[in-house]
Symmetry: C2
Subunit: 205 residues, 2 copies
Amino acid sequence: MPRHNVPDVVVRRLPLYLQTLNHIAETGQQVVSSTELGRTIGVSSAQIRKDLSYFGAFGKQRVGYEVDHLRAELKRILQLDEDWHVLIVGAGALGHALANYRAFEEQHFVIVAVLDNDPAKTGQPIGPLVVQPMESLAELVRERHVEIAILAVPARAAQSVADQLIASGVRSILCYAPITLSVPEGVHVAYIDPVTTLQTMTYYL
Amino acid sequence: MPRHNVPDVVVRRLPLYLQTLNHIAETGQQVVSSTELGRTIGVSSAQIRKDLSYFGAFGKQRVGYEVDHLRAELKRILQLDEDWHVLIVGAGALGHALANYRAFEEQHFVIVAVLDNDPAKTGQPIGPLVVQPMESLAELVRERHVEIAILAVPARAAQSVADQLIASGVRSILCYAPITLSVPEGVHVAYIDPVTTLQTMTYYL
């Protein structure tokens, strides 16, 4: 269960810690210091120690972290030790790219369906699936135990689709549309917007 | 020119401030308080005042910010008052989605070329362009004044392509491959990785 006193920015760093530990584990290394971990990720060792202290005491002073133990703990904290069922709405160019992205399934995110409201798209193959109509949404969420939806629709349709997702019981939405969604308490939205990211990058140019 | 004492997290919030101000301006509203701005974005008013104070004094006490003035200042700070030339490497499903994404050009990010090392893909149409071979890279960067590259290649190819981009003079890379790139000082990399974002979301489920 999530702890409510942990800042979002800390939670956002945890997957980076886990991924870096996974890379370290692949090399056979068994213990890592917060200094080494921080250098690889680009954050200070103090930050790593502080972030992890929200969840318990994982390291040993002057020794460091046991790589496999910390990986297991981070997976448990992030609830990544089980499969999650994910649904994509939008079978355009982005929907196709997402449906074909193999890294999801490798990391326990199983795409169980792709939906679109365009009758010309439904029934068409998309990655290993077939596009289904929006009318299937409620049944899919219920029967396939969908916990996460990826919104790959144009901005003008995003709020209406989000409302339908929430009405169907979805509580986590990853939104690719460049708008801010209005959602009720208890629904978590994350955004991926390359324009916003590019706008950050120009600052450094 | 970027100021070197501004934390990255502050810079990453500036585009959100700008986008929210753009939405507010569309409604005809001319002045906004930090409280109202914060409520819309989901950060505290104190955070907004602190973030903006890195760049000067923009608001009036008890009045708030003049919307158009703050928009213009944020555009200037983020260097968004001019067009940027962007190149995409990788003409797979993701490259197609990116080449077709109209929001880039609307926000002054002009996609000038898409490159791929697969001879079967070069010469094929992609969005409004035609896929070009990797051999064109150096010439394109020089002649089209490319400042930013988007890396839409598989993880195993990403470092090698990044090395070629940097050798050609590119100093900003937006990386979609799920790896951490090694780059020399002075090169800025931002990452978009839906798996990392999903891994953050499961914490809240």
